[in-house]
Amino acid sequence: MHEKTSVLSAQGLRKEYGKGAALVRAVDDVSLDVAPGESVAIVGPSGCGKSTLLYLLGGLERPSAGTLALEGRQLEQMPETGLARLRRHALGFVFQAFHLVDELTALENIELPALLAGSAPRAARERARELLDQVGLEDRAEHLPSALSGGQRQRVAIARALANAPLVVLADEPTGNLDSTATTEVLRLFGQLHAGGQTLVVVTHDERIAATADRLITMRDGRFVGETKLAGGTARGLTEMAGLEG
């Protein structure tokens, strides 16, 4: 246990569906400690339980067993109202399908979480403009989501996730619906967030986004089966990979 230095700490998390012979363990005894500013990617084939795990980590679903702490506050027994408040204030979510409100402009989508969390309208608007600027879409403030490209929509969704300066941003297949160019836009943005000290947990089967993490965890059949630190590598390695040597 490293709860003192972890912003997010899960111990022995388990999520079961069904009963008896039909019992499915979607998440099976998973422990994870995420340090402040750390970027963690969880990868694995579809159906391995990684999305369910992300929902558990974000308090969107409750575990069947195990403990979960966000900055030392225990989440697994917290009443729903407290949990909802915590999700709004302390966590940011990014989904594969963006989940923007179609009737609201980019700017309005981004300010929505701040308004829901009780910010003054003027402060929420100001923060939303800052964030729109940060994701490079200042000239798209008044656009509806339908008028934006996939990459732009996901950037709006990422800005929205940052509205309340969350302790952790949790992302579920953030590049799953994007082509290669739009994926690069999102990769750049995650890189910037990481460099700015944002704690990130990304669940993905896209090796490109996984490779931007500090730490990569492989999940199979509901369990963690391997962990890789992604720092390092040499210039020599890169030239070899490009076919320039050897």
């Binding site: 890789t228 390092g232 890169l238 030239t239």
Partner: protein, 192 residues
């Protein structure tokens, strides 16, 4: 790895792969006669962060070999304030070689067969768990992918060198997907 020591070393690496640089230099000269440093600058731009692999001496050594082979000619041009410089120009034979190179469709070989056979042999001989071998390889490639990606993202938009790095990234991605398929196969083979 002790078994490596008994094998003859490959030729010492001289930075840039000779075969490639030869044809590229000829092709660059097809447009106009150039100084060696101009050719080098062109290559460096195309390679971006990988230009470190480009050994300065190598370009000049290669140019003089190509001259001996009759594929280009070099003529000295006097400079007022420094030593003479050579200007290189393509010969008709050199131009033919460039044409042949541009039309050549040979492709750098991805090499799944050796790795595949390693897994088969390891499993057959009971030497090692193929899944473990796959996982180690996967980690290695992921570190490489992370590195290539960081380099690609550090390039300015529309950089020509970023295109090369994208090639590295996409190939590694394909390799990683294949390793995932290997892991699935050998995992289920264990359960049978």
């Amino acid at each position: 790895m002790p078994e490596r020591a008994t094998l003859p070393d490959r030729e010492p690496l001289q930075g840039y792969q000779l075969g490639v640089v030869r044809e590229v230099l000829l092709a660059l000269l097809a447009g106009e006669a150039s100084h060696g440093y101009q050719l080098r600058a062109r290559l460096a731009l195309a390679l971006g962060p990988l230009a470190g692999a480009l050994n300065e001496g190598q370009v000049y050594v290669t140019l003089s070999r190509l001259e001996k082979a009759g594929l280009l000619t070099a003529r000295r041009v006097g400079q007022t304030d420094r030593p003479d410089r050579k200007v290189y120009e393509l010969t008709p034979a050199g131009r033919e070689r460039v044409d042949a190179w541009l039309h050549d469709t040979s492709w750098p070989k991805p090499a799944p067969a050796e790795f595949h056979l390693k897994l088969v042999a390891a499993a057959a001989a009971g030497l090692a768990d193929p899944v473990g071998i796959v996982d180690r390889q996967r980690r290695e490639l992921l570190v490489g992918l992370a590195q290539a990606q960081r380099a690609a993202l550090a390039e300015p938009e529309r950089s020509v060198a970023a295109l090369l790095l994208e090639g590295v990234v996409l190939r590694l991605q394909a390799d990683l997907r294949w390793l995932e398929a290997c892991a699935r196969y050998w995992n289920s083979a264990k359960e049978r």
